[in-house]
């Protein structure tokens, strides 16, 4: 089971002939991901690490039965690549590329909604169901199969937390990087119901951060969930009004603060860990 990806996932890598695309194709293959095709316009007929390259996603779908895509295409062309994948009927599209203009992200997401595709990202490290399938750029060795679903807004912080959980014997069912941009395809609220229904998942970890209202919105759903939810929120010490890195991390208009998020989550029954390496401890408590 797991959510979004599993052993049936047949991946096409868009931008496979680029440095990042080629490097991470190799890592995904090493992980065991079923990478069936690459796309690089004008470079059909080549192979990258044994993966056949096509001119278009449609050909990769037709020729190799690709049903998921990961995008390593440079920012100015990434939205078009995503729309190509949507148009070709790819159901899951993971956009690793960062620096995509926000209005293009909105267009891609609108197109995906219209056609029923799921967009993860942009600016995401990807999605992994440990032991089954990894799509993205996360390190291969930090995850273990297990009962914890992780939904994260930030990449490296979630690696930190996942590695800590693995070390503590708490493996993961699926880990999803929602993406660091202000507008991303999936939010906590889109995936919590799937984790609640997923038989492999016994508890959920939210890795949040200041800015936006995704954590506050999630709280509404969590209140009625059966499975325990633990959260860690970064940005407690950030001064108001300063932009800390990507656009998701802006504190503005008194909303999206650390205090607002923690209070709302706790009210919904979430245990909020105050240090990243305490997530495991807290999880063990709530999982009983």
């Amino acid at each position: 089971m797991a959510i979004l990806v599993d052993k049936e996932t047949r991946l096409v890598v868009q931008g496979i002939t680029g440095n990042q695309g080629s490097f991470h194709t190799k890592r995904m293959l090493e992980y065991g991901t079923c990478v069936v095709a690459g796309v690089s316009p004008g470079k059909a007929g080549r192979a990258v690490h044994g993966v056949p390259v096509f001119d278009s996603v449609a050909e990769a779908v037709e020729g190799e039965g690709a049903n998921a895509s990961v995008i390593f295409v440079p920012a100015p062309f990434a939205a078009d690549a995503a729309m190509e994948a949507i148009d070709a009927g790819v159901g899951l599209i993971v956009i690793v590329t960062e620096h995509i203009p926000v209005q293009e992200a909105m267009e891609v997401i609108a197109f995906a909604r219209e056609r029923g595709s799921t967009i993860v990202g942009p600016n995401t490290f990807g999605v992994i169901s440990p032991g089954k399938c990894k799509i993205g750029i996360m390190p291969n060795h930090i995850y273990q199969p297990g009962p914890v679903g992780i939904l994260a807004r930030s990449g490296t912080l979630s690696y930190e937390i996942a590695a800590g959980l693995s070390a503590a014997g708490l493996g993961q069912s699926t880990v999803v990087g929602l993406g660091g941009d202000r507008v991303v395809g999936l939010s906590f609220t889109d995936l919590l119901p799937a984790l609640e229904d997923d038989p492999e998942t016994e508890a959920v970890v939210l890795v949040g951060e200041i800015g936006g209202s995704a954590e506050e919105e999630a709280a509404g759903l969590i209140a009625s969930m059966r499975k325990p939810v633990v959260a860690y929120i970064a940005g407690k010490s950030a001064p108001p009004g300063k932009r800390m890195g990507h656009a998701g991390a802006i504190i503005e208009r008194g909303k999206g603060t650390y205090e607002s998020k923690v209070k709302t989550l706790e009210r919904a029954g979430v245990e909020v860990a105050d240090l990243p390496w305490k997530v495991g401890e807290v999880l063990k408590e709530v999982m009983g």
Binding site: V102, Q103, I137, G155, S213, M244
Partner: protein
Amino acid sequence: MKLYEYMAKEVFRAFDIPVPAGRVAASPEEAGEIARELGGDVAVKSQVLAGGRGKAGGIKFAGCPEEALDAARELLNQEIRGYRVERVLVEEKLTIDQELYLAIAVDGAARSPVVIASSRGGVDIEQVPEADLIRERIDIRWGFRPYQARRLAYRLGLTGAVARGVASIAIRLYRVFRERDAELTEINPLVVCGNDVLAADARLNVDDEALFRHGDLPKVEEGTEIERRVKSFGLSYVELDGDIAVMANGAGITMATLDILQRYGGRPANFLDAGGGAGTEPTARAIETLLMTRPKAILINIFGGITRCDDVAWAIVQVRNTRGIPVPLVVRLVGTNQEEGVRILRENGLRAYSEMHEAAEKVVALASGV
């Protein structure tokens, strides 16, 4: 990228959004000259990238060119909300019947543009109660259509020529938003003067990621010298007021690192997100920048994903060997190519921690001279 009011108004003019007559001045004399052209009765507005300028004394009124010159002299080079005033905008004084608020922003939760309006403009919009705010989400496929703009105007309680004027400005503002790749564009106040409607103020924040297609816009640089320097390497930097310089890779982990430092009693000097996949050179430049802030200690916290630990290790070694690192340096290094990175550091006499809390405790102790 935030544009100054006078630049935003230039864009508005190009999209046929009415703005008051006026021009920007860099000297008191120039301001006086513009006031003379405008007939003397003017507003002199300091050009800073901060809101709340009026309350902070950044806007003065003048009844004649001499008064305008004096007002400009007072404002220029003054600090308003942390920004030095380099220019003033001299504009005709308006006889205002009503002040409205109108903005178009990105609604992250809805993944769509949103039009925000209020009949209570002119004040800090955060002070306006939610009930007096009108929000209309826009389907980006269809844009903001005349019928929606009319509805907005009616919901603001407007009628006749004023309703038509506001509707037409709202449509044009949406065109500005789309065609200029705005993250936010705002008119506060949008003023009603008789049957006329004008943008008395103008804000236009262009999406940094889309600047590549707006080469015709003026370049506005924000932030301190160091912040600009780091931005030029493609990294993200915010100055804070502590004494431990921090670099980590990823916004989330960098924030978490600051949180942890503070929790352990340390005071971070900055936020420096080295991002994913920065190679040896930019990382070395970033470390050099940390040194420029003369911290008491440095903490480098890397959990390698795209970022390779060996690249980071080489960057550290390179900076130490070329210009030296005169303050205590604590490195925490795990993830992609970790063994290689740790080996490089060790062979150069540097230690790498693998646990964040150990590194944090250590750097706080070193910074406090323990």
